[in-house]
Symmetry: C2
Subunit: 228 residues, 2 copies
DNA sequence: TGTACATCAGTGAACGCGCGTTCACTGATGTAC
DNA sequence: TGTACATCAGTGAACGCGCGTTCACTGATGTAC
């Protein structure tokens, strides 16, 4: 029954097959391409069959969004994991923040269809209290910022809502680059712009006692050109 | 012939009427709602008639985007114009940058459909050289940053590509708030978050010689609660 | 000032498309005995 | 181990929808004489 190789009249794992197909569609054509009919077609099944597993088109899209978000979180974690080791806790914390940002941006650039799908209007909101941090990528960001405080780089006075600023900058950069007016930038210029942005962000977060040369040093430490 | 009140068999100003109708549709339902048929319907005309003025649906959408962008530029200019006068050139320049950002964000919040339409995939790109600054809102930003250098707040070393950082932060904030996970934030929290973001941005841009208290002072000068 | 006529800006009907969704159905599966 | 049968997961045909676009057309406009 749980044998995925088995394909007969009963599919066995149609729900997952539909979501995978939908993610594939999203990857190629963004959220607009995610339709019940197309997903069913790709899964080799009648459109009606999809209604055994999803009540409506909206539910399929919702599931696809979640999958896209998971793929994004995975990509980000890989960036963090690839960070070179260091004994300096400030460098480590700052490097981690930058890696999170770069992971986010590179995912958007390499998988624009999935990125757009993940943030299509009406995803899960961070409701009411911002501290109910339930999304994986968001949680990573929160932890990185907490780390920066612990380590003495970010003063407690500037900590509140810092995740929103960091997130806004990185998210805005991503969307301007994939959909917006920065679309036709060369990769070289784009990487440079990203570096400047992460640097200004790090400077904005730095405690007054911290030299801004530190941020510049840490950020230039990490070679940004190895990806995509 | 140019009498707009005249409505007979010949409309007289159908192209503009169609774009206006399309903008109205965009305002209500975003770019997806902009269709030739719906615009023609709203203008009281047959779909076919639209083809006298636009070659395709895509052209109508393009014209609608431009209109949305113009409305946005107007809203931003109003924010800048409403700035209190001051003799301190640094305060003036910094205040102007913040007003531009607030204008951008408030437009997105009060006219999300138009905002989404303006930035729908495939707008006019800032091609090749970033210094071909042909978009009105973008030009405002460039000028504000140039001002900040002239006035001694932003050092020349951090000037290059600073517009991208500023734009990214403000744009990202806007989209996260209208479409993304910050959708359900209270207005109060949202305004506070925006204030923090503009403050961190101003700190990131500040020359090392400039006290970060200045940025805080300038930004809190401007009462952010009067709008929307 | 009047008229013939080219041009222009609309109409109305129709096409094919892919979509979401519903209906009555049927073949496959697994379980009770 | 075999069988009857309920349940489950599909099929296939059909619906109505709004869309972009094209066709042959016609009424209104403006201009040359």
């Amino acid at each position: 029954m749980a044998d995925p190789a088995k394909r007969g009249y009963h599919h066995g794992d149609l729900r997952n097959a539909l979501v995978d197909a939908a993610a594939q569609l999203a990857e190629e054509g963004g959220p607009r391409s995610v339709t019940i009919r197309a997903a069913a077609r790709a899964a080799g099944v009648t459109p009606t069959a999809a209604y055994r597993h999803f009540e409506s088109h909206e539910q399929l899209l919702e599931a696809t969004k979640e999958q896209a978000m998971e793929q994004m979180a995975t990509a980000m974690r890989e960036h963090v994991a690839a960070l070179p080791e260091t004994d300096d806790p400030v460098r480590r914390a700052l490097g981690r923040l930058a890696a999170i940002g770069r992971g986010y941006i590179y995912f958007a650039i390499s998988e624009p269809g999935l990125f757009r799908t993940a943030f299509e209007q009406g995803g899960s909101a961070i409701d009411g209290d911002i501290f109910e941090k339930h999304d994986a990528p968001f949680r990573m960001l929160v932890e990185a910022l907490d780390d920066l405080v612990e380590v003495g780089y970010l003063s407690a006075a500037y900590r509140p809502m810092a995740e929103i600023t960091a997130w806004s900058a990185v998210h805005g950069f991503s969307t301007l680059v994939i959909d917006g007016p920065l679309r036709e930038m060369s990769q070289q210029l784009r990487d440079a712009a990203m570096g400047r942005m992460l640097l200004l962000l790090a400077r904005g977060l730095a405690d007054s006692g911290v030299s801004s040369e530190l941020a510049a040093a840490v950020l230039s430490d990490i070679n940004p050109g190895e990806e995509n």
